[in-house]
């Protein structure tokens, strides 16, 4: 059974380690924050200028001066800190933020990612994505395996204008967990009751499949 968006987030939360600084992109990545085990300390950075982001505010407590990079109203945790955009990207570019989780429209087998532009159709801009993917040591993509037309978003080569080169390390989709290796995509895990065959059929790129592929554990 394919995962829903919350389950994708839940699976990604397993990748987080104690004492990590993490930047979560808009969409599915934002949901990751809901699944952090209490046993580990994580601080969330948002590139518009906050470290130590907390949950959404209670109704009536929204502050227009306190938003995340998705422009959503947020709160801060004890120990939080606020700063300007140059300092924020110093944290990102300088690799002080250790993990970036973001969405994508396409990922290629060399780790290229496209997520900012559909020529002639959609040009919202890259926001902080280009800085994030060019910098973070570890980049995990959270996305659906296929687009609305049912086409694979996991490709031999990106067809859309790319956001960054050779940067994605791992992908978690509704169907599978994939690792980007020097030889291409390696299938690590499959969603509960989703077969390797189904994943292969939904994937335009080749998959390296070694031995038994276990189901994701939650």
């Amino acid at each position: 059974m394919a995962l829903d968006k919350n389950q994708i987030a839940q699976r990604i939360a397993q990748e987080l380690e104690h004492n990590m600084y993490v930047n979560l992109g808009i969409g599915i990545p934002t949901l990751v924050a809901n699944y952090i085990p209490e046993s580990i300390d994580i601080e969330f950075q948002s590139e518009n200028g906050v470290l130590g982001m907390g949950p959404f505010p209670f109704e009536g407590e929204e502050d227009p001066d306190m938003i995340n990079a998705g422009k959503q109203t947020i709160t801060t945790m004890p120990g939080a800190v606020l700063f300007d955009s140059a300092t924020s990207f110093a944290m990102i570019r300088g690799q002080h933020v250790q993990l970036t989780v973001l969405g994508a429209m396409e990922v290629a087998e060399n780790g290229d990612i496209a997520n900012w532009k559909i020529p002639g159709k959609m040009v919202k801009g890259m926001g902080g994505a280009m800085d994030l993917v060019a910098s973070a040591e570890n980049i995990i993509v959270a996305m659906m395996h296929t687009n609305r037309a049912g086409e694979s978003k996991i490709l031999k080569k990106c067809t859309l204008p790319i956001t960054g080169v050779n940067c994605v390390k791992k992908i978690v989709t509704n169907l599978a967990v994939l690792e980007v290796t020097a030889n291409g995509f390696k299938l690590l895990e499959r969603a509960p009751r989703v077969s390797v065959e189904e994943i292969k059929n939904a994937t335009a790129a080749d998959l390296i499949i070694e031995g038994e592929i276990s189901e994701m554990q939650f």
Binding site: N48, P57, N68
Partner: protein, 233 residues
């Protein structure tokens, strides 16, 4: 103490002319200089180049200038959530230069700091790198980005003093301190203006030397773009 206070919003924006380059602080609608933008939208000033991370929404922030087609070119990192903007861009009426957000921030800081250019990894291998010098450092390719400056920078702070010193609140800080550095004339509007000497010198975010004019804004709407809440328990 050098006094930076101007008496009216008209005086605050005096000197802005058609064809100029101007910067506007803020991220989304958070921390934008509402009063300066509103005043600009009343003037017959056109063909402006605007450097701002975002482009406002249809009826607020920079959207007001877009509605009147006062802006010829936007230099931004993210311009979603604005139908009129999208229409002008796709029709070719509006020129748009999209820049990675971190490069935009750093280019403004560089402009204010006398650093004409710097290398960054952001955008390497993408459209953004086209025409730009590429150089490897520690085995990693970087591109050369140049400084940004502006004829005017409009910024917004929570508190300011008569010497032009500014303190921001929350994530409304964002691009404001960087653009304040990069404006030939930097106009700061603040929610609260106090006499010089009232702010703790250790706690000032933008030193007054970067600010040429300061004014207390008449009123602030401070619109929220994405109101997200959790249920009261």
């Amino acid at each position: 103490m050098i006094n930076k206070v101007v008496k009216s919003i008209e005086e605050a924006i005096a000197g802005v002319r058609s064809d100029m380059i101007f910067m506007v602080g803020g991220f989304g609608l958070s921390g934008i200089p509402e009063n300066c933008i509103a005043e600009l939208s009343k003037k017959d000033i056109f063909s402006l180049t605007c450097i701002s991370n975002n482009a406002g929404v249809d009826d607020f922030g920079l959207g007001l200038l877009l509605q009147r087609k006062q802006i010829k070119k936007m230099i931004s990192s993210y311009v979603g959530e604005n139908a009129e903007f999208e229409r002008q861009m796709l029709s070719g009426e509006l020129e748009v230069d999209l820049i990675p957000q971190g490069s935009l921030a750093e280019r403004c800081r560089a402009g204010g700091s006398g650093i004409p250019a710097f290398f960054t990894p952001a955008g390497y291998g993408t459209e953004v790198a086209e025409g730009k010098e590429v150089r490897e450092f520690n085995g990693k390719p970087h591109i050369l980005e140049s400084a940004l400056t502006a004829d005017f920078a409009f910024v917004k702070a929570c508190k300011g003093d008569t010497a032009g010193n500014l303190i921001y609140k929350g994530t409304a800080r964002n691009f404001n301190p960087l653009m304040a550095m990069a404006g030939k004339i930097t106009v700061a509007e603040v929610e609260e203006l106090v006499p010089a000497g009232e702010l703790d010198p250790n706690q000032i975010h933008t030193p007054g030397i970067f600010v040429q004019r300061i004014i207390q804004g008449k009123k602030y709407e401070k619109r929220i773009e994405q109101r997200t809440v959790r249920k009261n328990q």
